[in-house]
């Protein structure tokens, strides 16, 4: 998979293992309709790893995202669960905005899991 460069948002794509991608986000996601940029790219990532593969998205180096980006992330989780692909979300728990954003996402995902959807792994890291 190629990297994504969309204005102030960069996503570096790594393949640490077969059927596994790590997406490292940097910069800011502030576009008017981030889903139009992110969803086609993330959908290709899901297709690349296939069923039972893993897509790990790293937000810990991201400086800022708008609420439309959060909506796109939720839609990505939904799409991954539809394709039976594992999702990991890595975030910096030392940053208040990331801790709160991902805490809310955990609550949404938990409700989906209780309805029988695939679990999502949240990984709290501390950037140095």
């Amino acid at each position: 998979m190629e990297d994504l460069n969309a204005g102030e948002l960069q996503i570096k794509c790594e393949a640490p293992a077969p059927s596994s991608l790590a997406l490292r986000m940097r910069g800011k996601s502030t576009s008017r309709e981030p889903a139009k940029i992110l969803m086609p790219y993330l959908t290709r990532c899901l297709e690349a790893v296939g069923k039972n593969g893993t897509v790990a998205v790293h937000f810990e180096q991201l400086d800022h995202f708008n609420s439309s980006t959060i909506a796109a992330i939720v839609q990505f989780i939904n799409a991954a669960q539809d394709k039976s692909t594992h999702v990991e979300l890595h975030y910096d728990g030392a940053l208040r905005w990331q801790a709160l954003s991902f805490d809310a996402l955990k609550r949404v995902v938990k409700a989906f899991e209780q309805a029988g959807r695939m679990p999502v792994r949240f990984v709290e890291v501390r950037r140095t």
Binding site: R32, S67, I70, A71, Q75, V108
Partner: protein, 168 residues
């Protein structure tokens, strides 16, 4: 109420790129006055979400100029964004979103519900930004409607840390 430490009053247009420019400019100002990076980023987030709503859902055209007003005090920052509404249904929708946030048991509950709706209904995430402001900003929202079709949405963000870096 204490005297303002600062007042920022800027004209607002439908220029989307100006939103991020205003957020980052404001972050620089806040960083001089308030020691908490988390607080500064939270205020920046509130500014950006309110501006994005105004640009996205406002009625813009030749000669239409909105306002961003940020008033900083020792213990709090008030953010107010004024824009013209497209029609009466926008006003009703805004009232409904704020009423829904106020009626929720907690701001987190209102935000999580908006996220759940965003997952189920891909497309414009109406109300998610306001719910985020209430949840992450721990602040109360209000909308002040004017008879000529303008609205000012205000958010009051209290400081997490009570000390300030600069002596006013």
């Amino acid at each position: 109420m204490s005297a303002p430490l600062f007042l920022i009053d800027l004209p607002l247009s439908e220029d989307w790129d100006a939103v991020e420019a205003m957020r980052t400019t404001l972050l620089g100002c806040l960083g001089v006055l308030y020691p908490s990076r988390d607080y500064c980023e939270t205020v920046g987030m509130i500014v950006a979400e309110l501006l994005e709503n105004a640009v996205k859902y406002g009625a813009w055209g030749p000669g239409v100029v909105g306002r961003l007003r940020v008033t900083g005090r020792e213990a709090e920052v008030e953010i107010a964004v004024r824009n013209r509404l497209r029609d009466g249904s926008d006003a009703a929708r805004l009232r409904a979103v704020i009423a829904e946030i106020d009626a929720a048991r907690t701001p987190a509950e209102a935000y999580v519900e908006r996220l759940r709706l965003a997952a189920l209904n891909p497309g414009p995430s109406g109300g998610l930004g306001l719910a985020r402001i209430s949840y992450e900003g721990s602040c109360r929202l209000s909308a002040h409607f004017e008879s000529d079709g303008w609205v000012e949405v205000r958010a009051l963000a209290a400081q997490f840390d009570t000390s300030i870096a600069a002596s006013a």
